[in-house]
Structure formats: C-alpha cells, structure tokens
C-alpha cells in the first residue's frame, strides 16, 4: 500500500527546488518564492489525497503558486487604492505575472537553480540562516525536518528561516548568480555551507546520535548538483571528493551496538569502494582543473591516502604529514595542527607526535577541545606512560557531551586501568 502523504512528500522533495527556482525568477525574491511554493504544497496536501497525484505535479504546483501570487498582487493593490477602481494597470500586471510564471515553469534552467543556491548562501546572512535556508529551498526539507536535524525546536528554526528571508529582502539582495571574480568569492560561501551541512551530519557535535546520515546525503546531493552546474570549478569537485571519500566509511564508523569505531579499528571491507572510486574521480577532476593545492583538495587527498591503504598499517603517513603541512600553510588551524600531530606520531613514532602535540598546547582554541587530551592519552599510552594517559582521558571525558564519544573514551579508560 502506498502512503499518499509520503508520496506527496517525495514528489515535493524532487520538485520543490526547481519550482522555487522558477518562481524566484519571476518574483526576484526567494523568500516570496519559497512562501508561494509552500502555499502550493499546502494546497496539494489538501487536494491530492482526494484527487490523486496529478500527471504533471510540477505544473500543478506552479499553477497553484501562480494563483496565490495573483491573489496577493490583487490584495496588495486593493489596499493601495481602496477607493479607486481596479484599473487596466492591475489587469495588465496580472497578465504579465501569469505569463511569466507559465514561462518560468516551461523552462526552469540550470541558472535558476544556481541563482537560488547562491542567494540562499549569501554572505549577508548568518551562517545558521544560510544553512537553514539552503536546506529549505535547495534540498526540499520541511522546517520540521531541518529542526530535527539540528536538534532545535521547530519554532526556533522557523524564526531562523523567517529572519534570513527578511534579511535578504531588507538588504535588497538581488537574486542572481555572480560572475567572474565575484563568483569565486561567493562560491566559497556556498561550498562552506554545503560542507557544514555534511559535517553536521557526519559528526554530530552533541546529542545521542553519532551521525545523521540524511544530512550527509543532502550535502552530497547538493555537491553533485553543483559539480553538474559548475563543471569547470575545481573547488566544487574537490569538496565533492572530500565528502564522497568521507561518506564511503559510513557503514564502518558504527559498531553493532551503535558505538563509534575510529579509523584505525574500522573494518575496511565495510567501506563503500564504489563510492571511493567516485570520490577519487572527483579529486582527479579537481587536480586536472588546477585546484590540487586548495584546502578541500588537500583534505580530500588526505582522506584518499587512507582510502588507498588496504590496512591501517599500510597507510602512507609520511605523505599525510606532507599534505597537512601544505594545508597548514594555506589555512592555519589548531584542529589541522592537532591532526598533523597524530600523523607525525604515526609516521615518526609517539615521541615525535607528543612533541608536535605539546607545541600546540598553549593554543586557546583547543583549551576545551576533548580531542587534545584524548590524542595525548593515546600517545602517552604508546610510550608506556599509562598514569598520565589516564589523567588525560579523564580530562577528555569532562569536555564532551556526545554520548557515543563518551562511551569511546570510557572504554579506553577501562583498558588503560589495567595497564602498568
């Protein structure tokens, strides 16, 4: 038995991006476009269970949105000219609006979709606003779904979207795809939003769940869409490579009881090897386009080193250290430096790793970051300094709220208790 509401939701998910993109071409305002599209969805939810899903759902939704648009045009004009007659001008405007919307649906073009994504990720918005709006207009997620993904109330999320739309309208952000140099700059904002969505899914910062796969899938889909729409942009392919390669480990990152399994202990036969190929192909493409030295490409190249190694022991750690050095040169970050210290520990031994790590200790950004003591504990344990390792694990435990990570740390602590 096919559940009609789920069927409607699925139709919405695949049609909404182009629908909103098409309407936005006419309204030049994605907030209004999104509201009109949403009104159309409400109408569909009322009528389709009775009448069945129409042959051309996108056309149906566009017609419903058009009706709404004309209604609101008429209403706003009526307020303006309370006493005057609704003259020919209004009729003309209505006809123009109606024709433009018919035309928009007839040929929603790639540029419409790009424009939609670039506007939703506009730098004038807060990062949270960009993420929420992008998931809403470019991934077809409902407010409730986004709220659930980010563990905030539906009301909070609704306000976040409302504010984002208001900001765009107030700042008079034109709904357009930037060109030339501006495209590069704005693309960075788009890609960072996509990667934040991915990461939110990949490593949940708080809460019970270690990963929320649907968010990863939404980000991957956005990435693939962008690679299709902007095939000459190396950074797009590099980010796609990074996400595909990381996502290829999904099945191996969780043990039978949902516990986290870290890279060295992962069963590599569970890695999705076809997805690895896809990621490698995207990385090749980024490098061919001359983007091999950019941040996403270097990060992808690091993940690719792991993907190429049949076992953890076969990993080319020297190359990973080299890639981290390159990454630190272009985007110095304490987290990257921390990862580099882990790689140094693997390539040159735990003592060298500890030296690299301790060089970072004064870094204020790492003061409350649980991975610093956790990594330190690993290195100390390898050097046989178990009492110090236990101390570090206790510190790490106090710093994380993620239940799965806490489990992982407690397990290590238990193992360390029987040493020395």
């Amino acid at each position: 038995m096919i559940d009609i509401h789920r069927a409607i939701e699925a139709v919405w998910k695949i049609e909404s991006t182009r629908l909103i993109a098409g309407i936005a071409r006419v309204t030049r305002d994605i907030g209004i476009a999104e509201e009109l599209a949403h009104d159309a969805l409400v109408a569909a939810l009322e009528q389709w269970p009775e009448e069945g899903i129409p042959d051309k759902p996108a056309a149906w939704l566009m017609t419903a949105a058009k009706r709404r648009a004309i209604d609101s045009l008429r209403r706003s004009r009526m307020l303006e000219q309370k006493h005057g007659e609704l003259g020919r001008e209004l009729e003309l405007q209505q006809r123009r609006l109606s024709e433009a919307m018919d035309q928009a649906l007839d040929q929603v073009i790639d540029d419409d979709v790009l424009r939609l994504i670039f506007t939703a990720c506009h730098p004038v918005l807060t990062v949270e606003g960009r993420i929420a709006l992008t998931l809403r207009v470019a991934c077809g997620l409902t407010t409730a779904e986004i709220a659930r993904s980010f563990l905030v109330s539906e009301k909070t999320l609704g306000q976040r979207i409302f504010r984002a739309k208001k900001t765009l309208a107030e700042a008079r952000v034109p709904c357009e795809t930037p060109r030339g140099d501006e495209l590069r700059q704005r693309l960075e904002s788009v890609l960072s939003v996509v990667y934040l969505i991915f990461n939110e899914g990949y490593t949940a910062a708080f809460g019970e769940e270690w990963m929320r796969e649907e968010l990863c899938n939404d980000a991957l889909r956005l990435g693939r869409m962008l690679a299709e729409l902007l095939p000459e942009e190396s950074q797009v392919h590099a980010l796609l490579a990074l996400m595909e390669l990381q996502a290829s480990r999904t099945a191996a990152r969780r043990g039978p009881t949902g516990e986290a399994v870290l890279l060295p202990e992962q069963d590599r036969s569970l890695w999705d090897h076809a997805q690895i190929q896809r990621g490698m192909a995207a990385l090749d493409r980024a490098q061919q386009l001359g983007g091999g030295a950019h941040s996403y490409a270097l990060q992808a190249a690091i993940v690719a080193c792991h993907a190429r190694a049949g076992t953890a022991a076969e990993t080319d750690w020297e190359r990973i250290v080299f890639l981290y050095d390159a990454l630190l040169q272009i985007s110095p970050s304490p987290i990257v430096a921390l990862n580099r210290a882990v790689a140094v520990g693997m390539a040159q031994g735990p003592a060298a790793g500890l030296r690299a790590l301790d060089a970072l200790a004064p870094e204020p950004a790492l003061a409350n970051y649980h991975l610093l003591p956790s990594v330190r504990a690993d290195l100390l344990a390898k050097l046989g300094r178990h009492a110090e390792a236990r101390e570090e694990l206790h510190r790490a435990l106090a710093m994380t709220d993620n239940a799965r990570e806490q489990n992982l740390l407690s397990k290590k602590l238990k193992q360390a208790t029987f040493k020395d």
């Binding site: 069927a7 699925a10 695949i14 790639d110 889909r221 693939r224 036969s269 090897h273």
Partner: protein
C-alpha cells in the same frame, strides 16, 4: 544512498516511430532533470523482444538457447534506468515522472548490491574488491 532499477514495460508490438516530438522532448527534459539532481546513474533502451534470445540450463549440464523472450507475455521490458534515491518513496516519485514521460508502465526494484558508483558490492566480492 540506495540504488533502484526502474524497468519500463512496452507492448510487444510497440513501434518507436509513434513517439511524437512532445514525447521525445518530455523524455529529454526528464533526463536532464535527473542528471541535474544527481540521481541518474545509468539508462538503457533495449532492442525489441523479438530479437531476444533465451537461455536455459539443461539437466545434462548443457545450455538450451531459443529465439524470443524468456517469458511469453504481451509486454516486455523495453528500457531501464538505474537511479540513486534516498528511499523507495523518492524512487517512486521519479518513476512516476518516467511513466508520464514515456507513456509506459514500469516496475521499481531496489538494488542492494551493485558495481555502480556508490553501490555496495555483493557480499561475496566485498573482501576481494578491497585488495
């Protein structure tokens, strides 16, 4: 993300020359849309069932080859699409569009094991493909 086979069934006497311009355009547009959404992995159109050959293994270990489709029916698979979708609901939503565009009937099946990008290799191959 899981992969799905959408197999389209056409009547045996199907004549492709009856496809009008509007239908060709609708199919084209749907293909473009599926590529842009990143869901289309592979599509194929098949030669008519009259050109099919069927094979059956025999008890003596031999193989019997006969002309024509394996099953006698009025409709046969005429084309297929392999797509990647979040779940069966989404696959059905795409298949629905396919049915409208191709004016055909279709069947959707999940593909748990596949050698296509992002597919999961068959369990018997998982260890081998790793090396």
């Amino acid at each position: 993300m899981p992969q799905y086979l959408v197999a389209s069934y056409f009547p045996d006497n199907y004549n492709p020359s009856t496809e009008d311009e509007a239908m060709v355009r609708a199919i084209d547009e749907l293909n473009e849309e599926m590529i842009a959404a990143g869901v289309r992995l592979l599509v194929g159109g098949l030669a008519p069932p009259s050109q099919a050959k069927s094979l059956r293994s025999q008890p003596d270990g031999g193989v019997l080859i006969t002309d024509g489709p394996f099953m006698e029916a009025k409709e046969h698979v005429g084309g297929f699409c392999i797509l990647e979708a979040a779940d069966m609901d989404e696959a059905l939503a795409w298949a629905r569009k396919g049915v409208i565009a191709c004016r055909a009937r279709s069947e959707v099946r999940e593909i748990p094991y596949s050698s296509l990008p992002s597919g999961t290799p068959h369990p018997s191959r998982q260890h081998r493909e790793e090396s």
